[in-house]
């Protein structure tokens, strides 16, 4: 039942005994109380939990946006838990692609320029940058919308630009935080379809959600509750977005 079943594959990211303690208005909050997880290459994993469970904190640590109070975070075999913010920024640039609930595209900026952003900070310039950004947009089906700004795109299209941005630097992990939260159900299904397609192409996808139905698009669910991993299970009845699309169309 545990993740041990797929130990044959190499882990991309491991957390060992990770804790995180905040001080909020003088009160110590133990957001994470000893978390052990391992994400393997090519997996699609959901991190699930209600609000206040520590799910977001775990996502921040796994996404290298934050450092644990104690414990180890190992990315591709390298301990990153004591690295400086600038070192983490460089690792995020090369290894993590973010997809946020609120899309988080730069306003008044073209889709192409938005997708180029990680390449700008990765030191990729000139024609190669434009070429790679264009390829990433084509991969999410927006090859004909490169010059549009976010105001000129629908929510689903904006989220696909965000996915292209997450992909453009060939990251080890695509981390999607409630990617369908701001979308209507049809666009939501499309976005889940895009993520599943990327997964089928061998990309590691981590899905963070409170929604059981969205979580079941992955093939493994890590349930977080009260700062600890409550369950780590493989999904038996995985939902495939492709069949959902058929349902939506049928309706």
């Amino acid at each position: 039942m545990s993740a041990g079943q797929i130990d044959s594959r190499e882990p991309v990211l491991e957390a060992h005994g990770v804790t995180k303690t905040y001080v909020l208005e003088g009160m110590e909050v133990n957001a994470l109380r000893g978390v052990d997880v391992a994400i393997h290459k090519g997996e699609m994993v959901s991190i699930m939990g209600p609000s206040g469970s520590g799910k977001s904190t775990l996502m921040h640590i796994v996404g290298l946006l934050d450092r644990p109070t104690s414990g180890q975070v190992i990315l591709n075999g390298e301990d990153v838990s004591r690295m400086s913010p600038n070192e983490l920024a460089e690792l995020r640039n090369r290894h993590i692609g973010f997809v946020f609930q609120a899309f988080n595209l730069l306003p008044r900026t073209s889709a192409l320029a938005n997708v180029e952003l990680p390449l700008v900070y990765g030191g990729v310039g000139g024609e190669e940058r434009t070429r790679r950004a264009r390829e990433a947009l084509e991969r999410v089906g927006l090859g004909d919308r490169t010059g549009h700004t976010s105001a000129q795109l629908s929510g689903g299209q904006q989220q696909r630009v965000a996915i292209a941005r997450a992909l453009v630097n060939n990251p080890s992990i695509v981390l999607a935080d409630e990617p369908t939260g701001n979308l209507d159900s049809k666009s939501g299904v499309e976005i889940m379809g895009t993520l599943q397609e990327l997964h089928s192409q061998g990309i590691t996808v981590i899905l963070v959600t409170h929604d059981d139905r969205i979580a079941r698009h992955a093939n493994r669910i890590i349930r977080v509750f009260d700062g600890q991993v409550q369950a780590d299970v493989d999904v038996a009845d995985r939902i495939l977005a492709a069949s959902e699309t058929a349902e939506v169309v049928a309706e």
Binding site: L65, R92, R94, N104, L106, R108, L117, Y121, G123, G125
Partner: protein, 396 residues
């Protein structure tokens, strides 16, 4: 990421808020333009005054009542003014002198027919022409006999002549000065501004006449011309010896060079003061930049969060915002130079005020503006660079 990228991002951000960028730059534009313009006017006046003083010749000594040192301190009314007798005494006792000219100045009104004009009355003796350069446009100067007799004769500066007698030859005409009738005996070519104000607005009468009609015997200065320019110091010693028994230390002798030096110092100081005041407005412009950059940083908190999430390092964010602030100040500086230089040229051409644009003022104000941009841009940029990406992404 390199600086070309930071520069591109900054330019895009400035272009996205054109009106705001322009208004922010206005502070710098006005500051730089003010420095260039005010220093230009200060330098222009300084050059003109020094130039007109040099026209007087270098063998003149100015004797004034009261004890002054070279720093122009002291002041207040001197305990005792000179009289005509003191001038006569100097003429008799100072052997190296080729001319001794007592001088009085009074403000008054001159009338001719139904016209009247405010004039500055300069009174001296017949040797005045020896120490002051002037070109007669018509008529003559007053003579020794007229000085001795305190005759009511007057020579007019060019402005006074044209205002009282437009398109006429004033020589031989009657005018009224301080209620007394005078005959015009001569008038002068335009001379422009000078040490004692606009010389063209002056009228020249014998000192004896002035004492009579203005009811005062107080002489504010005596100009002594040394016969030999190399003997100026000897003449100065003779003057001191002649005046000491009566005045003790209560008088001062300036040479031409000293006067020039003091004036140059004074005007130089004034120019620096003007530059300083204008510099303050530049500083205020810098605070404007800081203010708008702080607003910009808080407005773009989410953008900073996004950039950090996709891999922007602290110095990437820092350089982006510093370049934006410096861009504002450089652009403002360039526009300020154009406005200041253009304004100085206009003033020079349209008004009698001289304005010499000096390169040091242009360079100094520009680099000060850039410095102000860096100085006031660093704090908001630092603030931006230190934002926590998680907090920044959550920011609404």
């Amino acid at each position: 990421m390199n600086y070309v990228e930071s520069f591109r991002i900054a330019v895009r951000a400035l272009a996205a808020n054109k009106a705001r960028s322009l208004l922010t730059m206005l502070g710098v534009i006005i500051g730089v333009a003010a420095v260039i313009l005010l220093v230009g006017i200060g330098t222009g006046v300084q050059d003109e005054v020094t130039g007109s003083l040099e026209g007087l010749g270098s063998n003149l000594l100015f004797v004034i009542p009261g004890e002054y040192d070279m720093s122009m301190e002291g002041g207040g009314a001197p305990p005792r003014y000179f009289s005509l007798d003191d001038a006569d005494m100097l003429e008799r006792r100072v052997e190296g002198a080729s001319a001794v000219v007592p001088i009085m100045r009074v403000g008054s009104t001159m009338k001719a027919g139904n016209r009247d004009v405010r004039v500055s009355v300069a009174a001296a003796n017949e040797q005045g022409t020896e120490v002051f350069t002037s070109d007669l446009a018509g008529g003559r100067h007053y003579r020794k006999s007229e000085v001795d007799a305190a005759s009511r004769v007057v020579a007019l500066g060019s402005d006074v002549a044209t205002q009282l007698f437009p398109n006429q030859d004033p020589v031989g005409k009657q005018v009224t000065l301080n209620g007394q009738r005078f005959t015009v005996i001569g008038h002068y070519e335009p001379m422009g501004g000078g040490l004692s104000g606009n010389q063209d607005g002056q009228v020249y009468i014998p000192i004896t006449t002035a004492q009579k009609i203005f009811g005062t015997t107080d002489i504010v200065s005596i100009v002594v011309k040394s016969a030999d320019p190399d003997e100026v110091d000897a003449v100065r010693r003779e003057i001191r010896r002649a005046l000491s028994p009566t005045f003790g230390e209560e008088f001062t002798v300036f040479s031409q060079e000293q006067t020039l030096g003091i004036l140059a110092d004074l005007l130089g100081m004034l120019t620096y003061m003007l530059a300083g005041i204008a510099g303050i407005s530049l500083l205020v412009g810098g605070i404007g930049i800081m203010n708008i950059m702080l607003v910009s940083v808080s407005e773009r908190t989410r953008e900073i969060g996004i950039r950090k999430a996709v891999g922007a390092r602290t110095y990437d964010i820092m350089s982006q915002f510093v370049i934006e602030a410096v861009g504002l100040s450089i652009l403002g500086g360039v526009m300020g130079i154009i406005v200041g230089w253009g304004g100085a040229t206009l003033i020079e051409q349209l008004t009698p005020v001289p304005a010499n644009v000096t390169l040091w003022a242009v360079a100094m104000s520009f680099f000060f503006a850039v410095f102000v941009g860096v100085f006031f841009g660093v704090y908001p940029a630092y603030k931006a660079s230190q934002l926590d990406p998680i907090e920044a992404l959550r920011y609404e």
